[in-house]
């Protein structure tokens, strides 16, 4: 297919370009600094502050290699991903219509937005205890907090996107005889799509942050942890690694979460590009 060839070609041009090599240089320097710093007591004779407490990249890599072969690790990754997906999907399903409603109806905006703005500064994690009290299961309480994280971002972006639509599009549609519903479907919806995509990409990052945090807090805080190092999601995993004193696992877990988060954002961006072909560079 043509696009495979095109992607391969652009990948090849990128790799041979100077931009790629400079980036590599920096990454290598960073890894070197990390390696030397964490072994600084042995290699340099004194302890570099903070960095010397971290396990070296070599050990972390080895740990990752070990973990990849353990199904329970993949399972916790799966658990976290499911939570992210649930919370995020809920946030989109509720947030997008709500945002659109606020953008379209002045009255609804006047009623809902102030309450929304007052609740927004409260960090999602502050909702955790309230959420635990309210929802019957721990899963639901985590899901609710996750939902909150992405929800506010998405709604704000939707409203902003709808407001930014050039008024002339409405005027043009009107003069061609569109009804209110038509305008909604054909102008507001597509016009807001780019902002929805941006909100989603940012929102998914926040969702990951909240999931990890919620897993750590409700798993680490309560007495009943799942048992085993890789039981209840990647957040649990990191916390338990900390409690169990296995620092390499901590870092390995962090890296895994980072990769997972990056993949979700990239996926969303791709979906977004597919949904908004008119924004693509020629």
């Amino acid at each position: 297919m043509v696009w495979i060839k095109a992607t391969a070609l652009s990948a090849a041009t990128f790799i041979t370009g100077e931009e790629f090599w400079r980036g590599c240089v920096a990454v290598v320097c960073f890894l070197l600094f990390w390696q030397i710093g964490s072994r600084s007591v042995d290699w340099l004779g004194f302890a570099v502050p903070a960095v010397s407490q971290i396990p070296p990249p070599t050990a972390v890599l080895h740990q990752l290699y070990v973990l990849i072969q353990e199904p329970s690790f993949w399972y916790s990754g799966y658990l976290s991903s499911v939570r992210v997906f649930e919370g995020f999907a809920a946030a989109m399903v509720i947030g997008i219509p709500l945002g659109l409603a606020m953008a379209v109806s002045r009255i609804f905006y006047g009623i809902a937005f102030p309450v929304f703005e007052v609740l927004r500064p409260i960090p999602p994690l502050a909702w955790v205890p309230a959420s635990i009290i309210f929802w019957p299961t721990q899963e639901l309480s985590i899901a609710f907090v996750t939902f909150l994280g992405a929800f506010f971002t998405i709604v704000i972006n939707v409203i902003g996107g709808a407001q930014a639509i050039d008024i002339r599009y409405f005027q043009a549609a009107r003069s061609m005889g569109s009804s209110n519903w038509d305008i909604f479907r054909r102008i507001i919806l597509p016009g807001t799509l780019p902002s929805i995509v941006v909100g989603a990409t940012v929102g998914v990052g926040i969702t990951w942050a909240v999931v990890v945090a919620a897993e750590m807090i409700s798993g680490g805080g309560s007495a009943g942890s799942m048992g085993g190092a890789a039981g209840g999601g990647l957040g649990f995993f990191i916390w338990n690694s900390y409690v169990g004193g296995s620092y390499t696992q901590i870092v390995a877990g962090m890296i895994t979460i980072g990769i997972a988060g990056y993949i979700s954002s990239a996926l969303l961006r791709k979906v977004g590009d597919w949904l908004t072909p008119w924004l693509a560079e020629p």
Partner: protein
């Protein structure tokens, strides 16, 4: 009936005045004028309806209908009663000095972390946006660490830094730093290239362009970034405090939960909301002051 009324959207009409009168209204008069307009519009009343509905729903479900799902939740009267009580049952109200101590501790941490994040993030962002070379070296490493959520750093931060304050501040700093640096970089990239070209035509050298064009030009984005950054800082701070802090609003919320002092949880949340909003608004105000040219332009257009 214009389109804006039909659809309810508000659109921005660019300013198109003639040569300006020597008597531009100052920003104070403008604010007064806008407040007066706002009071006459339906907006304040809709707002009251909104809050009324929200509080009403809460009140009804907990205290009147006593829905089973809400059995353990404290109701609004309980919370307000506790919050404004001179002798609160669970130990925290606006009359207790400890309350303010927690607020102060959290705010102080935010201030330190935010200050550090701004002082490192803004210059980094400026250079990332301005110098292609610099960006090619630094950005990949920057992006490598970014996807790791703040709270995932907690155990590592505890391991890396001594004491109980530093890890929390480090966490908060990290999240803030990324938001600031990214938005600053975007700000530089968003500057109209004609402005830079005009400056070089007029004989400005590169560092002069940086100082006179790039830095002021990026300011709007920088301030948006700072507002986001303070929001993210609160997010991380609360997380950090809940896991490993002593004192602070996050700590209050967490311990209130473990000690079954539920109304205090709500008090903590509300306080967080207020303080978070105030910090954000303060930054916005500073931004408006520093970017006089924008406030004047926008106020002329949006009568």
């Amino acid at each position: 009936m214009t389109e804006t009324e039909v659809t309810g959207l508000r659109t921005f009409q660019p300013a198109e005045s003639g040569i300006v009168a020597t008597d531009t209204p100052n920003s104070w008069a403008l604010s007064m004028h806008r407040t007066a307009l706002w009071l006459k519009s339906p907006r304040p009343y809709l707002m009251l309806i909104g809050f009324g509905l929200f509080l009403g729903f809460w009140y009804l479900s907990v205290e009147v209908l006593k829905l089973p799902r809400f059995a353990q939740m404290p109701g609004p009267t309980e919370v307000i009663d506790e919050w404004l009580n001179q002798d609160p049952t669970y130990g925290l109200s606006i009359f207790i000095p400890e309350y303010y101590m927690h607020i102060w501790v959290s705010t102080r941490r935010i201030a330190i972390a935010f200050f550090l994040a701004t002082v490192t993030g803004v210059p980094l962002g400026l250079f990332l946006g301005w110098s292609q070379r610099f960006k090619q070296y630094v950005f990949p490493v920057f992006e490598l660490l970014r996807p790791i959520p703040p709270l995932a750093w907690v155990p590592l931060a505890i391991v890396m830094f001594r004491g109980s304050e530093t890890p929390v501040i480090f966490l908060t700093f990290l999240a803030s730093f990324y938001a600031t640096a990214l938005n600053t970089m975007l700000g530089v990239q968003s500057i109209d290239v004609s402005l830079i070209r005009a400056a070089s035509c007029l004989g400005a050298k590169r560092w002069q362009i940086f100082r006179h064009i790039v830095v002021p030009g990026a300011l709007p984005f920088i301030f948006t970034g700072l507002q986001i950054s303070v929001g993210v800082a609160w997010f991380s701070l609360v997380a950090g405090e809940m896991v490993s802090g002593q004192y602070g609003l996050g700590y209050v919320i967490n311990t209130s939960y473990t000690m079954v002092r539920y109304p205090t949880i709500i008090i903590g949340m509300v306080t967080l909301g207020i303080v978070g909003y105030v910090t954000s608004a303060a930054i916005r105000a500073v931004g408006d002051y520093m970017m006089q040219w924008r406030t004047r332009e926008l106020s002329l257009g949006r009568q």
